[in-house]
């Protein structure tokens, strides 16, 4: 009997080991299968993303100037562009302008997006119909948005300015006034992109279980308290993702600045990518421009990492 038990136990041990071995083999096969599936996509991603980035970094180590052929692949002083950046006041100013633009546009777009999402989440057929209208600015080509605002901000052709004039009000031309030019860009950018954050937050709101709100109400929470302690924490992840998207996009702000102000007056609205564009395409300093771009990429990555570390991704406990 004992022998029989021993044999049974031994057999079951063997079966277990075999099972584990089969399981491990299956896991390994499954992992390999996943890798095989991913490989083409990773290769494509590497070719279209990684190689240009490596090329960008290499170019940033040269003084490449398109009008001087001897500057191609000249690595005699690879840190020169970065040393020049350290003492370039216009570059420093562009970073500061970028920081202001990003802060205000992301903040305003999150706040407005949240408020409008709360509004559109109400059960009303009129508001349901209005959702599409609110999305229009976001689906317009950025250059069209820039032209719309160029017309609105240009006193001799703007209906706003005609109205101001009719009332006898003297309003400065916002895009040529150093105190208002950046605000003018922020207003236009917010108008264009708050529907994006609104859409994401609205989707998040519609995922929120009604029981949370009902329970809070039973406990006597006011609508404000419900929003602050139930809705906002639930949307933490959505807000973070929307904010990150907008932050990264704000660093890419170009059409509005190119059409509305060309970075002016002076350099009041000259953000870093516009400065990089001027260096590359007005002066042909591709090496220097690449160094600016490398710094921008690094800054964006670091900033995104810090925000994710600080705020977290939200999630089920959110």
């Amino acid at each position: 009997m004992r022998n029989g038990c021993d044999l049974t136990a031994a057999a079951s041990d063997i079966a277990l080991v075999r099972g584990r071995s089969k399981g491990r083999s299956f896991d390994r096969t499954q992992r390999l299968f996943y890798w095989y599936c991913l490989l083409p996509a990773l290769l494509v991603l590497g070719v279209i993303t990684l190689l240009p980035t490596i090329y960008l970094i290499l170019v940033s180590l040269t003084p490449l100037d398109l009008t001087r052929p001897n500057t191609w692949w000249n690595f005699s002083n690879p840190t020169l562009n970065y040393e020049l950046l350290l003492e370039d006041r216009r570059f420093h100013n562009s970073m500061w302008v970028q920081a202001k633009l990003s802060f205000w546009t992301v903040l305003l777009q999150l706040v407005l997006g949240f408020l409008f999402a709360l509004l559109l989440n109400m059960r009303s057929s009129l508001l349901q119909a209005l959702r599409t209208v609110f999305l229009i600015p976001m689906v317009l080509p950025p250059i069209v948005v820039a032209i719309i605002w160029k017309v609105l901000y240009t006193p001799d052709i703007s209906p706003f300015y005609w109205a101001f004039k009719a009332f006898g009000w003297s309003v400065p031309a916002l895009i040529t006034d150093p105190n208002w030019a950046l605000t003018a860009i922020i207003i236009a950018d917010t108008w264009e992109w708050f529907p994006f954050t609104m859409l994401m937050i609205l989707a998040g709101l519609q995922m929120m279980p009604q029981e949370y709100v009902d329970a809070a109400r039973i406990d006597g929470a006011s609508p404000f308290q419900t929003t602050l302690f139930i809705t906002l924490p639930f949307l933490k992840g959505v807000l973070l993702v929307a904010g990150l998207f907008r932050l990264i996009d704000s660093i890419k702000a170009f059409p509005l600045i190119f059409i509305l102000t060309e970075g002016g007056p002076g350099t009041v609205t000259e953000v870093t990518n516009y400065y990089s564009f001027v260096q590359a395409f007005s002066f042909s300093f591709l090496g220097f421009s690449s160094a600016i771009t490398v710094v921008m990429v690094a800054a964006t990555l670091i900033l995104s990492w810090i925000i994710i570390r600080l705020v977290g991704w939200g999630g089920e406990d959110g």
Binding site: D156, T176, F285
Partner: protein, 452 residues
Amino acid sequence: MFSDKKARRRSVLKGAAATAALGATGLYAPAVLSQTRKFEGTTINGAAFSHTFSAHVRDLIPEFEELTGITVNFQDQAFPVYNQQADLELSTGGSALDFVNITFIFSGRWIGAGWMHPLDDFINDPEMTPADWNPGDFAGGAQASLQDADGNTYGFAWEAGAMIMSASRSDILDEAGVEMPTTFDELVNVCDAIHNKDGVAAFVADKLHHWNWIPYLMGFGGKVFKDPPGDLTPTLDTPEAAQAAEFYANLLSSYGPEGVLSFTDEQALNAQLNGRANIRTQAIAWHTPLANSPDSKVKDSVRFALMPGGPAGNFPGSNSHGWGIPVGSKNKEAAWEFIKWVMSPDVQRRIAIDQGYSAVTRRSIIESDAYKTQMTFGGQDVASLYLQVLELGGKSGYMKYRTVPVFPQIGDKINKAIERVATGQQNGADAMAQAQDETISDFRKAGVEMDL
């Protein structure tokens, strides 16, 4: 037999005569005919910045297409946009464009970097360019920026720009009891007297300050470079430059229409055409529409004059823009057909005389009675103003600063500095000192040797 011989001789003579006639015509006519349709089916792409001349060219393109069978895709864009796109396209040696405008401030850069194709082979080949096309007819001053140091030609000028002054509403000057200003001091006094009278701003300018401001800089005794084109040390941080910056910025901020700092050429022209802004100093092609455009509401009140001079003299800007062929073009000969046709004496005469284009570059047209008649507005001889400016520019060579390869870099710094002064962000001295520092930094990147 005799009659046979006679008949044969007649036949031979007839045949010989016919052969001789065919041969004689064959030397010319078939060549012309073959040239005319030689590129049938070819499509060429061209680009330039928006200008009254571009508009005339666009109107004439169907005629060229009908004549040659060549299809012409022509796009014109705002001045800075065109320059940026053309600069990028040329720098890559791409073949997207077959003919381009060689912008004055980029001529040194584009020709110097070898991005433009020399046209001498085309000009000197009688099969490609008939003698009566006469390249020597183009004003030498206008052609100077389109040639390299060895005398090779890279383009033909379609504009000989000469900066003059106009007052679209001279009736307001008359009512205020002031004359057209001849000095900088008078200009300020006149602006003071007429500003916002009848809702009209006294002064208007487009945002290309590195063109509009330089005559004021030189009028105060300043310079852009120490001694161009040999010594490109920038000289923007001088007291004269600071004074000129404050003077010009004051014209814009005190007497310009709201938002003038963002005005393009077209906006400034429209402000004058509609009588919303009065005085402007700019190249002649931007003034004559005030007198001859169907859209002008100021035809009866426009007045022209030489631009005012400063304590150091009078330095009205002069420039030239010309057609050229990018080195990467795959249709160079067809592109030359187009340039040759559009710059031919006949087409140039039609654009100048029939369309009223003023900044023409062929001497035979400038000196013609028809042009002088065309350029006389309300008894004002604008043609003579034009020639005076061209002579001033050619005499001392003060425009050499503008065709050096690194002008785009310093031009950008000047634009920004004038904006900073006009908006009160900095005073003239600080703004120009900053412009000087930034220019030196950029010139170092470009490998320019400076005497600092």
